[in-house]
Point group: C2
Chain length 253, copies 2
């Protein structure tokens, strides 16, 4: 039975998609059955996993609004992960879902159909607190909050925690915050170190993953090549952090 994670932070560009993909591949490398779900109409995760979003005829849109079974839409890639893809069609779903019954539980219903087949399911959220992110939080067992080590992204975290508290109260009482995942950390800058300290003090009641993902251009490069960061030609410290986090998630399953 899969443990379901949402990777969420409405602040843009903090490493949600990069973390979802690389963590997924790191788990597949150690024998876990992994499904990634793209909940961003931009299809960044779908692209990183090696597919062309706009070329797909079936995506999660069909599961959400045309009652297609997820098994008929799920793709597999060369790095051992399965993907429920998304493309721009998903942008319409947000408006169409508003007036539907149980609109916050459409993703939960999809996941319940396939949960038995996987060990881990990760949902990549878009940079907003709209209905799709709400669906992800309602469906998740745990939330990982990527936070880039820059002040503006710490600000966004407070608003997200308020929403998570509301979701726990009204939609999903089991929801747990797995932790804050520091990304794009540059140890050479005072600001980076200050932010890491701030995350520890400001959110002392939350777990701060010790696997800080260091800043490296290799992430942008490998994403452009639709490869996981583990395929970079040189050793990338941030890659190791994702592998360590993967091992930890398996241990605490």
């Amino acid at each position: 039975m899969a443990t379901v994670f949402a990777l969420a932070n409405q602040k843009g560009g903090v490493g949600k998609t990069t973390s979802t993909y690389n963590l997924g591949v790191a788990l597949a490398e150690i024998g876990q059955k992994v499904l990634l779900i793209d909940l961003d109409p931009q299809g960044g995760l779908t692209f990183c996993a090696g597919f062309e979003p706009e070329g797909l005829r079936k995506t999660i849109y069909e599961c959400l609004l045309r009652n297609k079974r997820p098994q008929e839409v799920i793709l597999s890639n060369d790095y051992g992960v399965d993907l429920l893809p998304a493309n721009i069609d998903l942008a319409i779903a947000e408006f169409q879902l508003i007036n539907m019954p149980a609109r916050e539980r459409r993703v939960t219903r999809i996941i319940n159909e396939i949960r038995e087949k996987y060990d881990f399911i990760f949902m990549d959220c878009q940079p907003s607190l709209g209905l799709l992110t709400l669906n992800a939080l309602a469906a998740a067992d745990q939330v990982i909050i990527p936070v880039s080590c820059e002040y503006l992204s710490v600000r966004g975290t407070r608003a997200l925690l308020k929403l998570i508290a509301k979701v726990k109260g009204q939609l999903n009482s089991q929801l747990v915050i797995a932790g804050l995942l520091p990304t794009m950390f540059d140890s050479r800058t005072i600001h980076g170190r200050e932010i890491l300290k701030l995350l520890r003090t400001e959110f002392s009641n939350l777990h701060l993953f010790p696997h800080t993902v260091a800043r490296s251009i290799r992430f942008a490069e490998t994403a452009a090549e639709r490869k996981p960061v583990f395929e970079a030609k040189t050793q990338v410290p941030g890659a190791l952090a994702y592998r360590q986090l993967a091992r930890q998630l398996v241990k605490s399953k």
Copy 2:
């Protein structure tokens, strides 16, 4: 009579807010009357301009949905810019506007009330192509598209250009793309240089601003201190790019 700009890109974390604020201050420094409008419920621009979004009783929400006059809500800061602020209330506006008449023109109506008082008006958009961004594109004379020099953010630009073409066709035939503004450029990396080249070839029919904003931790530092980048203790190449762009915008007014 103000020229109205939208800073838009649905890809998250590409420097929309940072560009809006620093460009605004750079124009105020050379004697221009500038209004900044925050259209992101996270209130990043409101924060950068020196205000605490959640502490404000009146924001753009009241103008959009309670017909409050913008003059009653606008704030001024120590760096010579005016601000029409936003906070989390704005997140509700998106849903409330959906069923209202002329829902795409609510921001246009607000701007028409105050346009005479300013030389430049800049709107900071959230990382999505929803109704608030649509409002900004309907109200704008020109669009500046910040694009970070990393591949994932180039992908998002194509989808944005399609939306802009639609807006031009149906809502705002005068809308012009002022150009793509390369941000977070790191000339030491091959990837950064490749992306700059890609922007030139892939979007050869668009203007690529020659004022490339180099990556610097000073942007995150000054944002945390709610100061414009010009206040950094050391010389910041990216700061000069914003000043040069400001002079160019005045020349081509």
